[in-house]
Symmetry: C2
Subunit: 349 residues, 2 copies
């Protein structure tokens, strides 16, 4: 196993840490297949019936790539000069299961993830799963995942049973993440039932549009609810170039200030944009647009921009080429490729 | 009446044409007050109860400013060196009324608008309203508004009765706009009932977040439905720096291509981003962020970026200062201030 393959990239010695890299375990796949065969019309079920239907592997080999934490994945990393995957249980995590199943499978996935990292400590780090369906047990597992399993942060797939993390019932989760100084990666899922309607046509339900709108709306709820005044040190991560939220910050600030002056929204201690810069980092995957990267660095500061591939859903070569060829300084490139990830996710240098 | 006030701005001689400038007429206000007093929980009713409630004028004088097409408005223009308002009936237009009321009020508003322009031909141009509730009568009024009243294009406030313009029933409207070579300004309104859920809290329903998500989703539906292959010369305008849609174009292209290769979405003749550049222009109002302007010019070409104030909802001085101080060439500044508006909205030079 080589750290990097010098022939595959322009800068063979830079440490590339990819931060939104998906895996799954057979037990979760079996449980998901049960869920998607049951009745239900949520957009996630629609999306997953396509992804986990019989035709998936014949289309793209996605499922086998998700299950592979050994040879195929490491070969893809080596061929593209990728030092490390920060692994996370793939969408939709455990959030479609009943609370007991979800809690058990999160524990199992975290154990399996920790074992994998122990086998490959230089190639893998990991984000722990938890079951928001049972917030107190989630907080307990979060503590175990960081303090005992030495995982690097958390992943959650946007809403849970159509509720968002600003809901007071989920505050034990936010409190645990803040206390553990562990970043929560707010990963997309399809729009919740309450906003599903216009996304049911033309493939808007998935990563083409709906995933980003769902997750961006979740982030804006966290900001505008005031919950980040309650948990000021909470760190959150948005993929897909920040799910576009920071393109809107000027307007959000303007309109929130007006609404606040009229007394019709929660009173915030800071401007919405200031929470975004303080409490959020973003990653690049799936938005390999140098203009969007330039905007993001200038708007948020390079320290808030991390690199990700979204393996195996997106091309490693494209993700590497994107940052390798970005018209930025090598100092900024190093920040995006590894320095920010090492800081935010407590990855040893 | 002066064309520009030299003392108010850095470049007194440039022709500033503002393209999303709201007005209303007393008859529409009366009809809206009836609608919002009736039962109903749509987000628009929630927003409008705040805007048209008794407290509005005591808060901000918005309603009187919307009704004023003479002295107060012209004074604001003069004080800020604004040459022209491209006027449009304010949100939510006639789209909350029954089909007959809506059709009648659109005709009345268009007549009143045309009279106003005749009184001030150098200071005003106008976008015609129509009632999508009755698509055939809408198409007829669209023809009258352009050919007889000599108005400059159209405005529509996103969805109508929770349906979007890609729905085949609205194709007579798209066909008329294309045939008349008249741009349709796709103005925001609150998220439709089918996506209202997560926007009901913390003031997400309005211009802070929901307006843009609703309108951006509408634009993406128009692109991904394939309707722009049916009406290839249709021209649409998005305010608020494109409602953020063009920040997503890389990802939309990537994911739409994958979904199309799997045969699960409508087959398009071009990439989604190519429709956006061909069929859409954007305006700046409410996103007075030089970084977002820079991104937009580079992504879409300066010919696709127009200027607007969103009078009287936003500050004219801020909108002028935004473009006056933008780090762009004077050629680009002239394109944004007036050349693009003259071309897209057929405004005499």
């Amino acid at each position: 196993m080589t750290l990097n393959n010098p022939s595959a990239c322009a800068q063979p010695l830079i440490r590339r840490i990819a931060t939104e890299e998906a895996f799954t375990i057979p037990e979760v796949v079996v449980a998901l297949r049960d869920v998607i065969q049951a009745p239900g019309q949520s957009l996630d079920l629609e999306v997953l019936r396509r992804v986990y239907g019989a035709s998936l592997d014949s289309r793209s080999g996605l499922l086998s790539a998700l299950l592979d934490l050994e040879d195929g994945r490491v070969r893809d990393m080596d061929e593209n000069g990728v030092a490390m995957h920060l692994l996370s249980l793939t969408y939709p995590g455990v959030q479609l299961f009943d609370a007991d199943t979800a809690t058990d499978l999160a524990i199992l996935a975290n154990d399996r993830l920790a074992e994998t990292i122990r086998r490959h400590p230089n190639r893998y780090a990991g984000l722990a799963s938890f079951a928001p369906q049972s917030p107190l047990r989630a907080a307990k597992e979060m503590e175990r995942a960081i303090n005992r399993l030495k995982l690097n942060g958390f992943i959650v797939n946007s809403h849970t049973n159509n509720e968002y993390l600003d809901n007071r019932k989920y505050w034990p989760i936010l409190e645990a993440a803040e206390a553990l100084e562990a970043c929560v990666y707010l990963h997309p899922r399809a729009p919740s039932d309450g906003m599903a309607g216009p996304f049911r046509d033309y493939g808007l339900d998935n990563a083409t549009w709906g995933f980003g709108i769902e997750t961006g709306t979740h982030a804006v709820r966290l900001i505008l609810s005031g919950v980040l005044d309650r948990f000021p040190k909470l760190k959150l991560c948005l993929g897909h170039m920040g799910e576009g939220v920071h393109f809107w910050l000027y307007r959000i600030d303007l309109m929130q200030a007006r609404a606040q002056s009229w007394g019709i929204v929660p009173k915030l201690q800071m401007k919405p944009s200031e929470y975004f810069v303080r409490n959020f980092v973003i990653t690049t995957c799936g938005q390999e647009d140098h203009l969007a990267l330039d905007y993001s660095i200038k708007k948020l500061g390079v320290a808030n921009v991390l690199w990700s591939i979204d393996y195996p859903f997106q091309s490693t070569a494209a993700a590497v080429s994107f940052v390798d060829t970005a018209p930025i300084s090598d100092v900024d490139r190093a920040a995006i490729y590894h320095i920010n990830a090492e800081r935010v996710f407590h990855i040893g240098t």
